[in-house]
Amino acid sequence: MSKLFLARNPRVAARALDGEMMIMSARDSTLFTLNKTATILWQSADGATPLDEIVQSRICAEFEVEASEALHDAEKLARELANHEILFVSEQPIPQSAPSAGSSR
């Protein structure tokens, strides 16, 4: 199974509130709140750490779930967040930088 890497979309507005992330989409200003698992994915999405490592070190440790099941759910969640342009998902590490004028990754 190939590795999956996650990176935060730097163009969204984001703030942690009471342990959950509040995110406003850059595309259409839709407001989202991320549940605890999605918040962990967001906070760990550095573009360099593979998803299976995030699941192992952060999600399994926190929620006492079986690793393969947690990875399956996390991947589904990550792709959902990518559909809303909150996260980027790639099979290659994703370099993180501030968006430059005109960029629309």
Binding site: V12, A13, M22, M24, L31, S103
Partner: protein
């Protein structure tokens, strides 16, 4: 059903987090609007690095919605540097308030690239002779509307803000028509705010009672007129425990000089970010906590008023009138225009005016003695 933002606001309230802050970057302006409450001279604005430091502190404090306003924000040469920092380094949801006359195609494209939630632009009339007579800048309506088109063509959310006053009372329908043609939103505010130094002379620009009465009966503005104008049911114990507004609870205001206030309309200084951390002012300022402690049941006069539940009473305007726990006469006027029922404050004033009339009988008494 509550919106997600309402839910987040409730959470912020419970945890004493300033969810939304208006930061005025400058009081300097390239218009001279006749109703403006600001002193446009620069008395020592925060520098770029001071503002970036403040944005760092605000992000740590949990501020999510950041409204950048002024004065005219585009007069700051570092405006785009500040905006980029707020968006890209600190991930604020940014709203802009501007007259937009310095926004050309290039600026509109740059705003789009940086990403903002909305841009609110002051438009007072659809007629240049009226709008320009309010801003005192010839050609300003054309320039502002050109900017609206540039911004709209970039796919940005634009809101026309129409302040209603004696000069433009007949023109709000025209402004709404322009908004509709341009495919942008439009707000109407019938409130003129006293000058920040306490000068109340600008209040003479407020529209009169009968005009306000008409405005509040325009279905295009208020929807269901009967519902909008009905007198609210009397307040019970539970509703009297409600907060007067969000000022100092989930919102506050920071001036270009770093002074922190409960709200842009509430000129009670609570601290200065050049001397204290933003979060310390927010949490520990005695004045901020004094404002925070007020519930509807604590209001003098208003607690017993018929309108207390539905009134738009602004604590800042009440403070400007002399007592933050007292009535705001401008809002009394609005409640009266809306329902036809005088407020407790209006009745009390009428009563005291009647007492004054009795004093007028003194000359006769004097005459009798003579």
């Amino acid at each position: 059903m509550k919106s997600l933002l309402e839910e987040m606001t409730e959470k912020a309230l419970a945890r004493n987090i300033p969810l939304s802050v208006q930061l005025d970057l400058t009081y300097r302006c390239n218009e001279r609007c006749v109703h403006c409450y600001l002193d446009h001279d620069d008395h020592g604005e925060m520098t770029t690095s001071e503002i970036k430091h403040l944005l760092d502190e605000m992000a740590l404090a949990g501020v999510f919605i950041l409204t950048l306003s002024g004065g005219e924000i585009f007069l700051r040469k570092d405006f785009f540097e500040i905006l980029e920092y707020a968006r890209w380094q600190r991930q604020f949801c940014v709203k802009l308030k501007t007259n937009a006359i310095m926004i050309g195609e290039r600026e509109a494209a740059r705003i789009r690239d940086i990403g903002v939630e909305s841009i609110q632009i002051s438009i007072y009339s659809h007629r240049p002779e009226v709008h320009d007579a309010i801003t005192l800048v010839p050609g300003s309506l054309k320039r502002s509307l050109d900017a609206v088109r540039f911004l709209k063509s970039q796919g940005l959310r634009v809101i026309l803000a129409n302040v209603l006053m004696v000069h433009n009372v007949d023109d709000y329908r025209g402004v709404r028509s322009i908004a509709s043609e341009l495919g942008v939103e439009c707000t109407l505010d019938p409130t003129i705010t006293p000058m920040m130094d306490g000068d109340r002379s600008v209040l003479s620009l407020n529209i009169d009672r009968s005009t306000l009465h008409e405005v509040f009966r325009d279905p295009a503005l208020v929807g269901n007129v009967d519902e909008f104008c009905e007198v609210s049911v009397p307040a019970d114990e539970n509703s009297l425990r409600a907060l007067p507004c969000s000022a100092s609870h989930t919102t506050c205001y920071v001036s270009p000089y770093g002074d922190v206030f409960p709200c842009v309309q509430f000129p009670l200084p609570t601290g200065n970010v050049r001397k204290q951390r933003f979060i310390d002012i927010w949490r520990y300022s005695d004045r901020m906590n004094d404002v925070r402690s007020i519930r509807l049941k604590d209001l003098t006069t208003c607690t017993s008023c018929t309108h207390v539940k539905a009134c738009t009473r602004c604590p800042g305007l009440a403070y400007s009138e002399g007592n933050m726990r007292g009535p705001s006469s401008q809002d009394c006027e609005k409640s009266f225009a809306r329902t036809g029922v005088p407020s407790a404050n209006m009745l009390a004033k009428k009563h005291s005016a009647m007492n004054l009339i009795q004093i007028q009988s003194l000359p006769n008494v004097t005459g009798a003695i003579a």
